[in-house]
């Protein structure tokens, strides 16, 4: 079984599939995330694929300071991502709400709602920094050595992000 665990962890490092979620950001970080998939930075050389469904992804990339309407959506989507999972907070907004610190529509930095594994600072961060952040999250997944049985089981609801945000 040890060989299987080592193979599994090596494959987790080499195949980080991401799901991108915007919790109220200005879209600057979203644009840089998409830029990291373009030919110049090409996150696919690390095996990164942008997935359409949270159930397909390992790494949840969140941008934006968390607005109070986005907070339950973030939590629902986090529960829909199947374990083992990692969260990357892209930009300084999810780390600390940045310049929107006094806003009344925000409910605080991202790590109040979901556990965050990697923070990528910048406003917006450079695409190569985002790729480094995703690679660091993939390494964290590989080193955590979760087995499939002990990985966090997801919540019971089958709602989708669209319905959760309504």
């Amino acid at each position: 079984m040890k060989l299987w665990t080592r193979l599994l962890c090596a494959c987790r490092r080499r195949s980080p599939w991401i799901f991108h979620m915007n919790s109220g950001s200005c879209n600057g970080c979203d644009i840089e995330l998409i830029a990291s998939l373009t030919p110049r930075y090409d996150a696919e050389q690390l095996g990164v694929l942008l997935q359409g469904s949270p159930r397909h992804a390992d790494i949840l990339c969140v941008t934006g300071p968390v607005t109070h309407t986005a907070a339950p959506a973030i939590q629902t989507v986090y529960q829909q991502v199947c374990g083992p999972k990692a969260v990357v907070a892209i930009g300084s907004c999810p780390a600390s709400t940045n310049v929107f610190i006094d806003s009344r529509v925000l409910v605080g930095p991202l790590d109040k709602h979901i556990p965050v594994d990697v923070f990528v600072p910048g406003c917006p961060p450079r695409p190569d920094a985002i790729v480094r952040g995703i690679a660091a999250a993939a390494n964290i997944l590989a080193e955590r050595r979760d087995s499939a049985a002990s990985a966090e089981s997801t919540a019971s609801s089958a709602t989708t992000p669209e319905e959760a945000a309504l």
Binding site: R40, V99, G122, P125, R126
Partner: protein, 135 residues
């Protein structure tokens, strides 16, 4: 059909990707992490006033003051650097590093207030010239 010509040109030009972990070169004007020079700071707290994101905190107690900076809060606008009359702040031209625990890039410095430099004798005021002669 032009797309096929474009794809052929792409294939001929080869790969344009930067192989991980290579990064594009940084210019010297890049606004990265704020660097603090404790030797030059006089504790005017103008940077805290000008900061848009409240990344710089300044607490003063008597002869001491503490200057703290949280890059996680920073938006790298550079207003603090522009507003510092002592030129104690500058921005690093490197990409800010990624980190794994919140607040791990915070820096803080506790400094003593400097005594101001002694005042020199002011130059004598020029005498009034009632005739208004221009020199």
């Amino acid at each position: 059909m032009k797309i096929l010509g474009l794809l052929w040109k792409n294939l001929r030009s080869g790969v344009a990707t930067l192989r991980f972990p290579a990064a594009p070169p940084m210019t010297s004007n890049y606004r990265g992490l704020v660097q603090f020079d404790p030797a030059r700071c006089t504790g005017c707290a103008m940077c805290r006033f000008r900061c848009t994101a409240r990344a710089i905190t300044f607490t003063a107690a008597g002869k001491q003051f503490t200057w703290a900076y949280n890059p996680g809060q920073c938006t790298f606008c550079g207003r603090c650097v522009d507003g510092c009359k002592d030129h104690a702040l500058s921005q690093d031209s490197n990409c800010p590093p990624i980190y794994v625990s919140a607040g791990s890039l915070r820096t803080s410095y506790t400094l003593q207030r400097k005594t101001p430099p002694p005042k020199t004798q002011p130059a004598p005021a020029p005498a009034n010239n009632p005739s208004g002669e221009t020199l």
